[in-house]
Amino acid sequence: MDWTLNLLLLMLLLATAISVIRIKDLLAAAVVFSAYSLVMAILWTQLRAPDLALTEAAVGAGVTTVLFIITIYRTVRKED
């Protein structure tokens, strides 16, 4: 059970990581990156590192996403 969940999460992590690089719409990339952080946070708890999970969820999924979106709003949304 633990093993399948971890495999699923790792595959999701890989999929989100690759999509962040591939997506040309930067706003969508920021949102997918937030999902990446959330999956990473769950993985940290699976690895018995709740400290890191808390930081990852708050900083990775919360704060940096907002800062990315502000930056995209200030610049351009599409990657060349």
């Binding site: 709740p50 400290d51 808390l54 930081t55 900083v59 919360g62 704060v63 800062l67 930056t71």
Partner: protein, 251 residues
């Protein structure tokens, strides 16, 4: 031609990395160097030596105290850089285009956030204060405080947030973490021991333990609140637009 060289170099590096991974000790093996010397010491003596039952807090604040002080200074420098480039918001003048657009967040969103933000801040304070016995601590709690204030700003707008958290209130708090760390560090020098020593000599065991506890608490609270306020200030500096000088005050 250039592409071929790049591919060749990448393949070469990849082969070397895979070869290096093969040489590494197996993951999680109990005979690995990190599990022979350091980890048992931290786990067995962490509580009495560092004064925190959460080993991670013991490592962060005590065994690796210099590292943590550097991290705190780095966060503060990041804020300095952002403020130097983007400048502070101006009270009463700074708005975002969200605020002047006339489209407000819906009642559902505003009410939810109004009820949620105090609970989130309460949780963050719990994480900061219980950092020495449960997972969490200053950095984690600070990040949660920052996230909750950012949530509030997104729903209620920049003028409301800057009125709740004015500049004169934020400026002293931003440097609080570095100052708390330095104060705790120099306490040791005043007592004639090394920088960042927590257990003071020449006192009874109870007094020394109490002083150590207070010092760790001050550092945790400093990191927590300063971290949260630094996130907030960076966000305010990035989001602000002083365009309302050209427009009528009310939308």
């Amino acid at each position: 031609m250039r592409k071929a060289i790049v591919v060749l170099a990448l393949v070469g590096i990849g082969v070397m990395l895979i070869y290096a991974v093969g040489e590494m000790p197996p993951m999680g093996d109990s005979g690995n160097p990190d599990k022979v010397h350091i980890a048992p010491r931290y786990l067995e003596h962490g509580e009495e030596e560092a004064g925190a039952s959460n080993v991670i807090t013991a490592v962060i604040l005590n065994y690796r105290g210099y590292d943590t002080m550097g991290e705190v200074a780095v966060i503060f420098c990041a804020l300095c850089a952002v403020v130097a480039i983007l400048n502070r918001e101006k009270t009463g003048l700074s708005r975002t285009s969200m605020d002047v657009s006339g489209v407000k967040a819906s009642v559902v969103v505003r009410t939810t956030i109004r009820f949620l933000v105090p609970v989130i801040i309460f949780f963050a304070v719990y994480i900061i204060l219980h950092g020495e016995s449960t997972p969490g601590g200053g950095f984690q709690g600070g990040a949660i405080i920052g996230a909750s204030i950012i949530l509030f700003t997104l729903a209620f707008g920049l003028p409301e947030s800057t009125r709740k958290l004015p500049l004169r209130f934020r400026i002293p708090l931003e440097s609080f973490a570095v100052i708390a760390f330095l104060a705790a560090g120099f306490t040791g020098i005043v007592f004639g021991v090394h920088f960042l020593t927590y257990l003071m000599p020449g006192l009874s065991e109870y007094a020394a333990e109490t002083i150590r506890h207070i010092m760790m608490m001050v550092i945790e609270i400093g990191i927590g609140f300063a971290g949260g306020i630094i996130f907030t200030s960076i966000m305010f500096a990035m989001i602000r637009e002083d365009q309302c000088e050209l427009q009528p005050d009310s939308p």
